[in-house]
């Protein structure tokens, strides 16, 4: 089994949820979004993957972007925010995630405890 391919698939699915979750709290721009997700750990998102993802989410109407001349930067930044559709999608994804996590925790409880020792 190709563990790297499996990890990539796992992270790819979760990346959309992570982006929507961060944007649900704050309107923000690519680098800041990337930093927040990287600080949380586990997802391994990079600049090369976050912008195509943001582009797709915008095309799907889940987020909207606007260019801003920020006082704190010498260059314009594109700020992203959740749309109403995005908020509804996030709510459904969070419910799915909670069920998934609970199921996996039940299934993998012993293995996870053993791996952490």
């Amino acid at each position: 089994m190709d563990l790297n391919a499996w990890k990539a698939q796992l992270r790819k699915g979760a990346a959309e949820l992570a982006v929507l979750a961060v944007l649900d709290r704050d309107e923000t721009y690519g680098v800041d979004l990337l930093e927040r997700i990287q600080m949380a750990g586990g997802l391994d998102l990079s600049g090369g993957s976050i912008y195509p993802l943001l582009n797709r989410l915008q095309q799907e109407g889940k987020i909207r972007g606007r260019w801003v001349e920020d006082a704190g930067a010498s260059h314009p930044r594109k700020y992203y925010a959740l749309t109403r559709t995005g908020r509804a999608v996030l709510s459904e994804m969070v419910m799915e995630w909670a069920q998934f996590e609970a199921g996996m925790r039940l299934l993998l409880g012993e293995e996870v405890a053993r791996a952490r020792k």
């Binding site: 600049g47 912008y51 195509p52 582009n55 915008q58 260019w67 801003v68 010498s74 930044r77 594109k78």
Partner: protein, 188 residues
């Protein structure tokens, strides 16, 4: 990168390039020890990075590639698309005419077709679509074969115009915001 994104609309392409520039400027400010090539390296090669946008965008975006959708995109597009629109509408008019001829042949076979009349000076070929039997002179050259021929012409025109519309209309883009900076950030 601009060339690799050629399949996207002009506004979407410009948006992606501007955001890439903004990303590089942001990272250069945050990490002065990094050079621009090092920052760009994180994004991957320009071609690979551009391809990610195409793959990610195409995978889930609804694809509407029908001829009617293509015509609508042309009709609501820029003035530069007008010659193509006229060309496509012209050919579709021919296709509709061919279908009407096939219908006329089906309903009025005796008075529709290519009729050949021998005259003193040679053969006189006339195309007739009429309910009037007096307009018909001589035997019908094609007979019922006019129906499949006319339908085939209409189908070929439709296929050719659909292929043309797929090539000339850019992919659906949801990027609508102007790329120039305007407003201060919203406080939340």
């Amino acid at each position: 990168m601009d060339a690799a994104l050629a399949r996207l609309s002009e506004s979407e392409r410009r948006e992606i390039l501007l955001e890439t520039q903004s990303h590089v400027a942001e990272q250069a400010e945050r990490s002065p020890q990094l050079s621009v090539p090092e920052i760009l390296e994180e994004l991957g090669t320009p071609e690979a990075y551009a391809r990610t946008f195409l793959v990610d965008g195409d995978r889930d975006a609804p694809r509407r590639t029908g001829a009617l959708h293509g015509l609508a995109r042309l009709a609501t597009g820029s003035w530069t698309a007008l010659p193509v629109l006229v060309f496509v509408v012209g050919f579709y008019s021919v296709a509709v005419l061919a279908l009407l001829i096939a219908l006329a042949e089906l309903l009025e076979p005796a008075t529709t077709g290519y009729f050949v009349q021998q005259t003193a000076t040679g053969r006189d070929i006339s195309f007739v679509v009429s309910g009037d039997p007096s307009a018909v002179r001589g035997p019908d050259l094609l007979g019922v074969w006019l129906i499949p021929i006319a339908i085939s012409i209409a189908v070929v025109i439709h296929l050719a115009m659909s292929a043309l519309l797929r090539r000339v209309t850019p992919r659906e883009s949801a990027v609508r915001e102007p790329p120039t900076p305007r407003e201060p950030p919203r406080d939340e």
